[in-house]
């Protein structure tokens, strides 16, 4: 699937990176601990998180991730949006909670990867 499909499945609002939605995504991960994302994630291209601070974007950037979905309707601030724009990372928000958001993506064929 691509980011646009994930957006529709999760009923997301796109915060930034509207022009980058056609990128393919194969695997995802969900975590509020950036330590774990850095230590365990390999080639996941989309990060679901309930954590809202600039280090979420920096972590995703270091891991070459394409998109961050903030769950439970959480909204990134302007500084985070500016950073994401600079790094070319799509930011989206969904009203779903973490468990449900991950479940919906799984149900539609996205997997966790290695």
């Amino acid at each position: 699937m691509n980011i646009r499909n994930a957006k529709e499945i999760l009923d997301c609002q796109v915060v930034c990176g509207e022009e980058l939605l056609d990128q393919e995504i194969h695997t995802a991960c969900g975590s509020d601990m950036m330590s774990d994302v850095l230590a365990f994630v390999k080639d996941q291209s989309i990060l679901l998180t309930g954590l809202v601070n600039p280090q979420v974007i920096r972590t995703a950037d270091m891991m070459d991730m394409l998109c961050i979905v903030f769950v439970r309707g959480k909204c990134p601030d302007q500084a985070m949006i500016d950073l994401a724009n600079e790094r070319g990372i799509v930011l989206m928000t969904t009203g779903h909670r973490m468990f449900t958001a991950c479940g919906l993506l799984w149900e539609n064929g996205l997997r966790g990867g290695n």
Partner: protein
């Protein structure tokens, strides 16, 4: 050695939101030089973990990165509180990070082991009350 690129960054220990700027700049520079994605990724993750440590456990410091055709050598030097027991600090899950750091998404005690995993060589020198210097090397060839 010829063809050595040296990058140097001061890391502000007071500004958590900017922690990671140096690592991102190094990542960009390596990418631009055409270094393989695998090496870029290892350097980026190792350096970012180290940079975050400098901010959350020390009072910032200086990062120096040397890129040669053979390897990427990173040095992270701080004048923070130092590490009392390096062997213990290297264990997965060991962390002295306060709850406040954990609420920011860090402090799982995974950073140093991850840095070791991402680098081909790693050395930590630390003196309590004086500071810590971490050196890591990632081979390009």
């Amino acid at each position: 050695m010829e063809n050595t690129l040296t990058l140097r960054y001061e890391v502000d220990g007071e500004d958590f939101t900017r922690a990671g700027e140096a690592s991102a700049a190094v990542k960009r520079a390596l990418k631009k030089m055409g270094v393989s994605p695998e090496v870029v990724r290892k350097v980026a993750i190792a350096l970012y973990e180290g940079e975050i440590n400098m901010v959350i456990h020390a009072d910032g410091g200086v990062i120096t990165v040397e890129v040669t055709p053979k390897e990427v050598r990173m040095e992270l030097a701080d004048h923070g509180k130092g590490i009392e027991n390096i062997e213990l600090a290297m264990q997965e899950g060991y962390s002295t990070a306060p709850d406040e750091v954990r609420s920011l998404g860090f402090g799982a005690g995974m950073g140093l082991p991850n840095m070791k995993k991402c680098s081909d060589e790693m050395k930590i020198e630390s003196t309590v009350g004086v500071g810590t210097t971490v050196t890591m090397t990632v081979y390009i060839q």
